[in-house]
Symmetry: C2
Subunit: 208 residues, 2 copies
């Protein structure tokens, strides 16, 4: 365990806590006070650490993510969907009307999705939020956002290892949770860039 | 006040709470028990409601956002920057090394940004997070993400009303806070679409 701690930089006390909480599988017992940990432990430890310390997940949410990894999925797409379901922010319960805003959006974008999936319900709740704030999604904005996000999703899925579903799901979980703050920060920085570029123009911008 | 409540659908008790907390300016007093509220109250009330109830901001964070609106900015870009600074997640304190990851990323993208801005520090923290999780940002991924997010930022800034800085900042704040969940949900749905499209192919996809 002290070697595992040295390799990953995670304190022994923290490793013990993860073992107790079932976030990390037990090592192979070698003696009463010694256990063997392999590369899968190193990988899992880094994931759990990242989910809790950097991703800000609760222990319960991290457990659900780990459980989706341990379900030993055979279909990568379904496994990534299950992992998404385990990640925050979750989705509001389905109401009578169904996710009508989200379904209209994915239809306008021509995307093929499961209308009952958590992602669709999350999208519906987010679209209801911008409506309530008085800034509803316009057709133009949806077209730009949809194309941009599809490029991101293609890069996400294209970069996914396909050796085993477990490796793919590990990549998808880390890629979803840990890259979300990257995307949001990049957007704010990009807005700054757009403002600075526009204000530094000495001639009026061409009409596009 | 009861009319303001009817117009916005926000309960009178909630409006009183916002007034007490300084989130909503007082109406113009007409009599001891009557005050007049105008369109600016309606707009501000919708914003505060959205920030707290849908955006999940704390009262303190919402107050900071409202203060950035009330600062009556004259430069739209600077005002949007100030509003961004007031929004969660905030940024970690600058350390000795500076935001080296973020500065390398914006240089690779060719963006013109303030290296001391909150957005750059947020980006640096997010990039440190993906490093720690063992899935660092690659040059390819950065190129795709940067181009996609720049399209989103152009749409955000392009759709901004330019009549007054206050209107622009209002739009920027709502657009930033309320559209972040839309972008993240759209990405998850887009990943689902990519998976389903790939798995439904009967011939191998062309090498791109």
């Amino acid at each position: 365990m002290s070697e595992l701690s040295r390799t990953t930089g995670v304190p022994v006390a923290t490793i013990k806590y993860y073992l107790r909480e079932g976030l990390l599988p037990q090592g192979r017992a070698l003696a009463a006070t010694q256990a063997e940990y392999d590369d899968t432990h190193v990988q899992r430890l880094r994931l759990v650490r990242a989910l809790l310390a950097v991703g800000g997940l609760s222990v319960a949410a991290a457990k659900a993510v780990v459980a989706s990894l341990d379900a030993a999925p055979t279909d990568v797409g379904a496994a990534v969907g299950a992992a998404h379901d385990a990640l925050p922010p979750g989705a509001p319960p389905a109401d009578g009307a169904g996710p009508v805003r989200a379904l209209a959006a994915v239809e306008a974008l021509g995307w093929d999705v499961d209308p009952d999936s958590t992602g669709v319900r999350q999208l519906d709740a987010a679209l209801a939020g911008v409506d309530a704030a008085g800034l509803p999604m316009s057709a133009d904005r949806l077209r730009v956002y949809g194309a941009a996000v599809l490029d991101i999703a293609e890069a996400d899925v294209g970069g996914m290892p396909t050796s085993t579903p477990t490796a793919a799901v590990h990549h998808a979980v880390v890629g979803t949770v840990m890259y979300e703050p990257v995307i949001l920060a990049l957007r704010r920085v990009a807005q700054q860039h757009v403002f600075r570029r526009r204000s530094s123009r000495t001639v009026p911008p061409p009409t596009e």
